[in-house]
Amino acid sequence: MKILVTAKRVEDPESKIKVKPDGSGIVQEGLKYKINPFDEIGVEEGLRLVAKHGGEVVVVSIGGKEVQEQLRHALAMGANRAVWVNHTGALDQIGVAGLLQKVAEKEKPDLVILGKQAIDDDQNQVGQYLAEFLGWGQATFASKVESLESEQEKNKVPALAVGADGKSVRVVREVDNGLATLECALPAVVTTDLRLNLPRYASLPGIMKAKSKPIEELTPAKLGVDVTPKVQVLKMASPPPRKAGIKVPDVATLVDKLRNEAKVV
């Protein structure tokens, strides 16, 4: 099977994000960049499914030249080849989903796996837009993967497993008060939750090999997509700071404060 996965370039989740004084954006200096953690889980999932069912993993990223770092990272993990949509301006979720739609129509994958959200804009939208644009089924917030193939594993709850006929995928989703299981006809769109898997490290041979793997360059113009943003960020601000708190020496003082000062117990 062919699996298309995404690799958005985002600020390292451990970075301290600061807003520029004029509110026009965030301070870029000193920031490190990574593949979006949810996308990395998607790459891992694609690799595991292909290891079981055969086929290839194609990774796609949209952005300036620098996103090739994230593509090389996915290739070093084991993805077979990469598609780079070269675009440097602002982009919103409709734009991203529109570009991914064209890439999917060109590549004809059985499955597109994306992160459930990017940790920079926290929108949690692209996979759902994409599924609708393609007219495919969607299974968002997929958790934990197991296979249907071995007898032993058949007895476990399958979380994201391709059916024996290769025509459907069964996905366990994390929802608000439990787990929901869906079966999507292929091709379909899946978005990953944190607990789907633990992504592998890229090995040294993997990193060496990744250098010779092909990266195809496309542009929004070549794909025929107008990416003029329809979501405009007018201004950014730091959230209001919390008033500094105090440390209390013991439980008795804590209970006294909670009762008489905060009046919450």
Partner: protein
């Protein structure tokens, strides 16, 4: 007159999801700013169970559609029906609470309507056609003011930022509609509910959360929660380790809570976790490490072993309550 359409959510037990009440308050605020009329919509196998309740929550019109295919929520079945209604009534805004269902469904509705969308909206600014949305980015480290430029604007709402709509706000007109039901390419297989006698995490007045410092032993967390009538929460590390179910996770990628009192025990306070609880009214941190970042947001911090503090705290609260 412009229309704000709020999508109502029914729980598997047939009751209205409480976050719908917060979404209706948000919808009313938006309608007032935009000079619009508030409508709500419910898709269900049997809408009759909650129609009466929905009628008194401030909407001008309650739209209901009944079909056997709406028994189990599926984005592919729900999205076309809601988009069809939004088009037929000429809705300018379509919103829903940022529940798992809201986040799964509304982008698909937006895609159908060729509409731009904002997730987790916390407030509305401006007036008339120029209303803009405040929403968090980078795990709540940035608040952005966002403008959607498409004719229809779609959004999900952060329920903790809006009070619950009160009953008794007049009687809405109920309009049944019969959308063309699309069944899509996805089948519902099953739903395994995590049942708890404690209040729902996102709705609780008090939340007691445990982190890695519990080493997986949640007995004292649960005992204190029960003494306080509180919900139990957890950090990502604790869920990842499989110590507690995933639906207890508070944070950027879990649930956002804003209770009156949030007690964090053995939680260091990573950015990811703070994103989910920073708006709590009073925050208490119990941690052995005086340098833990959680102390920077805590109103009251106690540097000590949680296994000593929690039982003592429970006893002291029990006594104080008489």
């Amino acid at each position: 007159m412009p229309i704000v359409l709020i999508v109502a959510e029914q729980q598997p037990d047939g009751n209205l999801r409480k976050a719908t009440l917060n979404a209706l308050t948000a919808g009313k605020q938006l309608a007032d700013k935009a000079g619009a009329e508030l409508h709500t919509v419910l898709l269900s196998k049997d809408p009759s169970k909650v129609t009466e309740e929905l009628k008194g929550l401030g909407a001008k019109v309650v739209h209901t559609a009944a079909a056997p295919e709406f028994e189990h929520y599926l984005a592919e079945t729900y999205a076309p029906a809601i988009a069809e209604l939004a088009k037929s009534i000429g809705a300018n805004y379509v919103g829903m609470a940022s529940t798992a269902q809201g986040k799964d469904l509304l982008p698909r509705v937006a895609a159908r309507l060729q509409a731009a969308m904002a997730t987790d909206v916390m407030a509305f600014n401006g007036s008339g056609a120029d209303v803009t949305f405040s929403r968090p980015m980078w795990a709540g480290n940035v608040f952005a003011e966002v403008k959607l430029t498409t004719p229809v604007k779609v959004f999900t709402l952060r329920a903790t930022e809006f009070a619950a709509a009160q009953a008794g706000q007049g009687a809405a007109e109920v309009k049944a509609f019969s959308p063309k039901v699309e069944t899509g390419k996805t089948k519902f297989v099953d739903f395994k509910e995590v049942k708890s006698a404690r209040p729902e995490l996102t709705e609780a007045r008090v939340v007691v959360s445990g982190g890695r410092g519990t080493k997986g032993d949640f007995k004292e967390i649960e005992a204190l929660a029960d003494e306080l009538g509180a919900a139990v929460g957890a950090s990502r590390a604790v869920c990842d380790a499989g110590w507690v179910p995933n639906d207890l996770q508070v944070g950027q990628t879990g649930k956002v809570v804003a209770p009156q009192l949030y007690i964090a025990a053995g939680i260091s306070g990573a950015i990811q976790h703070l994103a989910g609880m920073k708006s709590s009214k009073t925050i208490v941190a119990i941690n052995k490490d005086p340098e833990a970042p959680i102390f920077q947001v805590a109103d009251y911090g106690l540097v000590d072993d949680l296994f000593k503090v929690l039982p003592a705290l429970r006893e002291a609260i029990h006594k104080a309550k008489g």
